[in-house]
Assembly symmetry: C2
Homo-oligomer: 202 residues x 2
């Protein structure tokens, strides 16, 4: 198991390589990556060699080869089956965010406890009242849950997802959720991004 | 000017200290911080001493003193005046996210190019049609802009914010925006968070 900071940097490098590939750039050096992901080129080269050998020439790494190398090792090319709980503003924005679909995250089901909302929604994905969560998550082998409900509902929803066998959760609510260690939880907080922005502005 | 990765880690440490303070925990060691922000305790201690001397005992750093030390040095206690462009789902969620207000980010104005939306919105902050952006940003000395419009409108909005003298931008759109180096741009992408989650799930 790789150290977490290595994992996170490799994911960011993967994101940068995707962009380079779209712009038809063929080679990238660890110095180029330094600027994009805010780590030294020494660290970046260590991270990359931590997952095995990959060719590097005077011009740097081959973009497509390095992307394949990282993607295969971190299993980033696997299609992940996800569900979304909370179909309000954040949930609605995620449902429509096409990039998610292209990036290998398939939202299989959406849940909300507001039955009117569930009935009235125009969406390509199936949406259900939240009391059906356990059944749907199990029968559809959903592995990842996105929590976009108000803070006071977050822990309850997390417990239901855990009971249904979910192995990872992306939490948008402002509340920290407590779950067994084997469930990975990533919290998203725009305030941290704003603070980093403010600190860089000086 | 601190290295960017040091700045980012210090912001994350600040976030962790806020939580510790709310939970009435008095001391925190660099080892405790290691787990929360995914960097070695050596790196963390280096980051903290990069901004000056702060007391440390056998039990670690004093939470309140360390938070004050980081906050003052990075000017995180300054109230930042922000505006929000795009009052759809992401914009609406941000307007109602109370934590932002408590954390020193005051959204002074909202803008949208849909005049109906602007007229019908029930919100505590003043909202305007986007053609008034230049005037309002200048007259209200707004320093930071949040872009929550569709990808195709993002660059145009960024140019208007730049023209109005904005020094920092938080960009939610999936499009990279091009601006002079003196404007700091932070991009938020949920796909990266999902990828990190997937990589940790294995
Ligand atoms: N992380 C951040 O930086 C950030 C920014 C903005 C909002 N938020 C948070 O994201 C969450 C969603 O925000 P929003 O603006 O979309 O809110 P919203 O009110 O628009 O949507 C919440 C949805 O959750 C549903 N819901 C409530 N309880 C539920 C339950 N027990 N089970 C299933 N569905 C339930 C509601 O019916 C509603 O549709 C909130 O917790 C908010 O504080 C976080
Ligand atoms: N970063 C991520 O991970 C992520 C996730 C979801 C959505 N998004 C992106 O965030 C953005 C907003 O998403 P949303 O779901 O809130 O969209 P939305 O359609 O609900 O809202 C967009 C708003 O922008 C307004 N607008 C359009 N052009 C404008 C202009 N030139 N000036 C001012 N306002 C204008 C529209 O009237 C609308 O109110 C989109 O670019 C979307 O792709 C990003």
């Amino acid at each position: 198991m790789l150290p977490i900071c290595t994992l996170e940097r490799l994911c960011k490098i993967f994101q940068v390589l995707e962009r380079y590939e779209l712009d038809h750039i063929q080679a990238v050096s660890s110095r180029d990556l330094e600027k994009c992901i805010h780590a030294t080129s020494v660290t970046i080269r260590k991270d990359i060699s931590a997952i095995g050998r990959v060719g590097v020439t005077k011009r740097g790494y081959d973009v497509i080869e390095l992307k394949k190398h990282i993607g295969e090792h971190l299993k980033l090319f696997r299609k992940r089956r996800a569900c979304l709980v909370g179909l309000g503003r954040i949930g609605g924005a995620l449902l429509e965010y096409q990039t998610l679909q292209d990036d290998g995250f398939e939202i299989i089901a959406g849940f909300d406890n507001n039955v009117n909302k569930v009935e009235r929604m125009r969406t390509d994905i199936r949406v259900y009242p939240v009391h059906e969560l356990l059944d749907i998550v199990k029968s559809h082998r959903i592995e990842l849950g996105i929590i976009a409900v108000p803070g006071e509902a977050a822990q309850k929803v997390a417990d239901q997802l855990n009971k249904a066998g979910i192995k990872g959760i992306l939490n948008f609510s402002p509340v920290g959720i407590a779950l067994p260690d084997r469930v990975i939880v990533e919290n998203i907080d725009f305030t941290t991004a704003l603070r980093i922005l403010a600190a860089k502005m000086g």
